[in-house]
């Protein structure tokens, strides 16, 4: 089993794989990059670029992270550097195969099903997506995000793009636990609370304890994937 806290490099600071795997990763990455570039066309370049995280892992022993200095997006780095921004870490265990959990999350348009403060996530293609959160009286908070790190059944990392109402970055990790029986999903993200109207909407959505909001999100995800439905004692709208 892999270490469950690989999302948190500033705590763990470890090299997570042994020398043999690093050599294998580096060799594979080099081969893929060479092949991709030799194609001399766009798919080839994309293929080469896609192998970069693997090369990074081969060199450093870790998957590249949003906050480990590799990001070229200095705006995000500034907004979320050090103690700035709000950090949220939560995790949940599910009695579902890791690929099923990963596939469900990777289809980002599924997320509003269990994140109540989202109206919609629209997949814009090429790893980009548009996030629309609920505001009062039919108003919305919007931002675009891009996936900057993706390894199937292991990790999805993202960051917001300039011009949105919020600056955010984070990752979700997928691990098998309990001898492969269960899946543990760990979310780590940061956001810089925006000023003005958007700020008050975000503050309302996340309340005083953003961790509690995310914990409820993950609980609903678990209910949806395990039980197939959300428990309701009363019809929606009856609650105060």
């Amino acid at each position: 089993m892999r270490n469950l806290h690989t999302t948190v490099p500033e705590i763990t600071h470890r090299t997570s794989i042994d020398a043999l795997e690093r050599v294998a990763a580096l060799t594979t990455a080099t081969a893929v990059v060479a092949y991709g570039l030799s194609r001399r066309n766009l798919p080839g370049v994309c293929l080469a670029a896609a192998a970069t995280p693997l090369a990074y892992r081969g060199l450093s022993g870790e998957w590249p992270r949003v906050r480990n200095g590799n990001s070229t997006r200095t705006g995000i780095r500034t907004a979320l550097a050090g103690n700035r921004g709000i950090h949220v870490r939560e995790s949940v265990r599910l009695e579902k195969p890791i690929d099923e959990v990963y596939r469900f999350w990777r289809n980002l348009e599924n997320l509003p099903q269990f994140m109540n403060y989202l109206d919609a996530v629209i997949d814009l293609g090429k790893g980009r997506s548009r996030w629309i959160a609920k505001g009062p009286a039919g108003t919305h908070v919007k931002w675009d995000a891009e996936i900057i790190n993706e390894v199937e059944n292991q990790v999805i990392g993202w960051q917001s793009l300039p011009g949105g109402d919020i600056t955010t970055a984070g990752s979700v990790n997928f691990d098998t636990v309990r001898n492969g029986r269960s899946t543990q999903l760990s979310v780590h993200f940061q956001y810089a609370p925006p000023a003005g109207r958007a700020g008050s909407i975000i503050a309302k959505a996340f309340g005083r304890e953003p961790s509690q909001t995310v914990r409820e999100d993950l609980r609903r995800l678990k209910q949806l994937l395990e039980a197939g439905e959300f428990p309701h004692a009363k019809p929606r709208g009856w609650e105060l």
Binding site: K222, A227, G228, P231, A233, K234
Partner: protein, 393 residues
Amino acid sequence: MRAVCYHGKEDVRVETVPDPKILNPRDAIVKITATAICGSDLHIYDGYIPTMQKGDVLGHEFMGEVVEVGRDNNKLRVGDRVVVPFTIACGNCFFCKEQLWSLCDNSNPNAWMLEKITGFSGSALFGYSHMYGGYPGGQAEYARVPFSDVGPLRVPSSLSDEQVLFLSDILPTGYMAADNCQIKPGDTVAIWGCGPVGQFAIQSAFLLGAERVIAIDRFPERLAMAEGHSRAEVLNYSDVDVAEALRTMTGGQGPDACIDAVGMEAHGTTLDAWYDLAKTSMYMATDRTHALRQAIGCCRKGGTVSIPGVYGGLLDKFPLGAAFAKGLTLKMGQTHMHKYMPGLLDRIERGEIDPSFIITHRVTLDDAPNMYRVFRDKRDACIKVVMKPDGRA
């Protein structure tokens, strides 16, 4: 429909409320043919259960006929006659798969409330406060049953409602209490409380191989039932020193297992019992734990104390030192209903248990307010109240 609703401490009313509807794909609606008042409903009646709200429909022991099923329910059919377990479980989470059904992760929409109090939330319960989910209960004409493809147990027409109704809670609860004692042939089991759960614990202890069962209470009719119907030896704690009597009866060794079928509103005649009463009366403590203290004190070294009685808060003067010194095993918790119901139905069909013997009062829903009081005050030799919502009590 008509339903028994909570309105405050010692205030329950029969009211007309909206009929339940299918809300989720795995739901069913059950037309209730028989429903009972549970001893644990009296904890609500006495105001000990937080997060009850005015108008909440009470009751968690019920059975009836399926009249509607949700689109994802591929097990039940309209017309099925079912007993409904009082715990609500999804069937798919880690705890359900481990047969720890009453600890289901996915049935309580208000899990965060219990998490604030207990760290983690168990399953939701019917009619038992909002921290346990806020699901309307079964002292009504109809009930909505969530996850009805894993909970309700079909019962054969050869058995009467009164024979199978208690599969909904107290029979499995008494049985699990005895099962938790890990009884070996020849064991002696002492049981505090001869209410319905105590009665079924006595019978279950014998079924599981106990040689002797000693039952403790103070109400003559309950002791008579324990002795006459369930073949236990009995002790009236108003008359005898229970600890001394148990020591003598077991040759100085103590019972191999002790069951606390009383819970948080224990009565007693010893100093600590009056201390509990004074403190809870002044809201300085949540639970009166005299029975549990005595069970721990009396249990033999290396024995098991099994706790089906309900506790809700922080215990005062809890003799953990005695439990540690004697190397006791403590087992407790809400009943894992779904694990025990099918096997107990088989035992009823084979005639090994006929749970209907505990019923002392047969009434209609409209009698509920009065019967809560009679049952709580143990007047009229009341042991178990069964209500027939169709009015044919």
